[in-house]
């Protein structure tokens, strides 16, 4: 953090503010994600977590602040550019493409250049290479048996995994996961958390928005807490959870 040049900083969010009609949904958010790190991002409902995620990936335009991806200022770039520079988002409300098999859902996301250039898309027909990648990723998230199924045939737990596999198909440097455990059973959540724990690697950091505090505590070494759109704490998980203001805001403890 001190010597930014030499550190392995993948994502640096500096004083990002997002305003909706005069209301600051996110107010001066600051966080940093390092290579091979799993950063937990918590905060009570309405804290502006999803809004900040959307601002980071470019679905929303912040009114001020900077977003630096791997040393490059991407604050003014569009969503599609940011994704192609190495970001991916698994959304809280899962959005599978329902007319495609799981394999094709993931293969599409693995299409890289063919997703940017209509000419390239027109001259390429074979999906074999992308389907091979997709098969590997779906196996990695535990969906190897369901690759030829359509999303409508599968329960939420499977689709949450699909959402993660699809984000991974982008080979992101920065992977944003928005409540991947929400709606899952205890066992499913535990399995998913195990899966997430293995996602950070060399060249990839992961930010995990999650309400399931016991799992976050188990798998994340670093936490960022936001409350009412403002950054409340950032640091080692145990230290952050000890803080009185975090307990008051997030856990509702008064003493």
């Amino acid at each position: 953090m001190i010597a930014a040049k030499t550190s392995s900083l993948l994502l640096d969010v500096k004083n990002v503010t997002v305003t909706f009609g005069g209301l600051n949904a996110v107010d001066g958010a600051r966080l940093a994600l390092e290579d091979n790190q799993l950063l937990g991002f918590i905060g009570p409902n309405g804290a502006g977590k999803t809004t900040l995620m959307r601002a980071i990936i470019g679905m929303l335009t912040p009114s001020s602040g900077q977003i630096i991806l791997d040393g490059q200022d991407i604050s003014s770039r569009r969503l599609v550019d940011r994704i192609n520079l190495g970001m991916a988002l698994a959304q809280q409300i899962i959005k599978p493409l329902k007319d495609m098999t799981l394999l094709d859902n993931v293969a599409l996301a693995a299409g890289s250049g063919k997703l940017l250039s209509p000419i390239k898309a027109m001259i390429h027909r074979s999906r074999q290479h992308e389907q091979d990648i997709a098969h590997g990723l779906l196996t990695e998230v535990g969906l190897a048996d369901a690759i030829y199924k359509y999303p409508a045939e599968l329960p939420l737990g499977f689709l949450k995994r699909l959402e993660v596999a699809r984000a991974l198909a982008r080979q992101p440097k920065v992977l944003l996961l928005d409540e991947p455990l929400a709606g899952l059973s205890i066992k499913e959540a535990e399995d998913m958390a195990d899966l997430i724990m293995g996602l950070p690697c060399k060249g990839r950091g992961v930010i995990l928005i999650e309400h399931n505090l016991s799992q976050v505590r188990r798998i994340c070494k670093t936490l960022y807490v936001q409350n009412n759109g403002r950054p409340l704490a950032f640091g080692a998980t145990e230290d952050v959870l000890e803080k009185r203001e975090v307990q008051m805001a997030y856990l509702g403890k008064s003493e």
Binding site: M59, N84, D99, A109, L115, S117, A121, I123, H124, K149
Partner: protein
């Protein structure tokens, strides 16, 4: 024979025109209620050129280029709007086109352009040319559907926002669909002008846009064969039954309503469900081969 040839040529032009909209609305999911304007742009471009002495075949490219260029402009202006708003914006294009043509003396104004020269080879020549171009366009459509472009279009048609999150340059692909589709309409327009040999602003009005949209909807959004059959039937019917011609807008309006209410995926979807019923365990990985 002459009459049958006229009917057949009209039918093929309708198929070509409907497929060009199928690319925009069916493949890429962008509803257009102003597609007849691009048929008109192609028709006027081609008619002006053949009247100036060009052979018909040489006007195909200019007709496609002019229609495609205006298609890009309309497409770019429509990028911000979706669904119902897109339908209304494109409807505006249709009225704008007839409104502008009416005031242009150079383009015949209200009177239109008469005395458009016959195609080389007369009716037979035009029929053969139309047949070849329609088959060519359908071949391109089949190819596009199976290529990565069709794959990407499918995702945009289903959910633009998700397509964007997956890293797809949605704007570029939408514009490309507009270019291809409007250029196709321009080509159909060039053929149409030399089929009827008289064109006026009313040949390309809102009714024609609704007609072609109902061909695509009744045929089944995105289904190449469904749209071909629907376009063939719906173009021929008014020529055989005077009643349908008299109440065209009513008939097409009702067809649109019934298709959307009872057969949202059109003839193509009906055929697909029928096939699946007969072969329930057809594995999905085969279906896209």
């Amino acid at each position: 024979m002459a009459y049958e040839m006229i009917v057949l040529t009209n039918m093929l032009i309708a198929i070509l025109f409907a497929q060009s909209l199928n690319l925009i609305t069916g493949f890429c999911g962008q509803v257009s209620l102003g597609h007849a304007a691009f048929l008109g742009i192609g028709a006027y471009t081609s008619a002006m050129l053949t009247k100036a002495g060009w052979p018909l075949a040489a006007t195909f490219i200019p007709a496609m280029v002019v229609a495609g260029m205006i298609g890009v402009i309309v497409g770019a202006a429509s990028l911000r709007v979706r669904h119902d708003f897109l339908a209304i914006t494109t409807m505006g294009v249709s009225f704008l086109f007839t409104g502008i043509i009416r005031k242009q003396d150079m383009l015949g104004g209200e009177m239109g352009i008469a005395g458009i020269p016959a195609a080389y080879g007369g009716r037979v020549g035009l029929l053969l040319m139309t047949l070849c171009l329609t088959i060519l366009f359908i071949t391109i459509m089949i190819y596009v559907k199976r290529s990565w472009m069709g794959f990407v279009f499918e995702s945009i048609a289903e959910d633009e926002d998700t397509a964007g999150v997956l890293g797809i340059d949605v704007r570029r692909f939408k514009l490309f669909a507009f270019v291809l589709g409007t250029a196709g309409a321009g080509l159909a327009g060039a053929l149409y002008a030399h089929q009827v040999r008289f064109i006026g602003p009313d040949s390309f009005g809102f009714v024609e846009s609704v007609t072609v949209l109902s061909m695509v909807i009744v045929g089944g959004i995105g289904s190449i064969w469904g749209v071909t059959i629907a376009a063939a039937l719906l173009s021929v019917m008014p020529q055989f039954f005077q009643v349908i011609d008299d109440y065209k807008l009513l008939v097409y309006g009702l067809l649109l309503f019934f298709a959307m209410r009872f057969l949202p995926d059109g003839l193509g979807g009906l055929a697909k469900r029928f096939r699946q019923k007969r072969n329930p365990d057809r594995s999905p990985e085969r279906s896209q081969a």
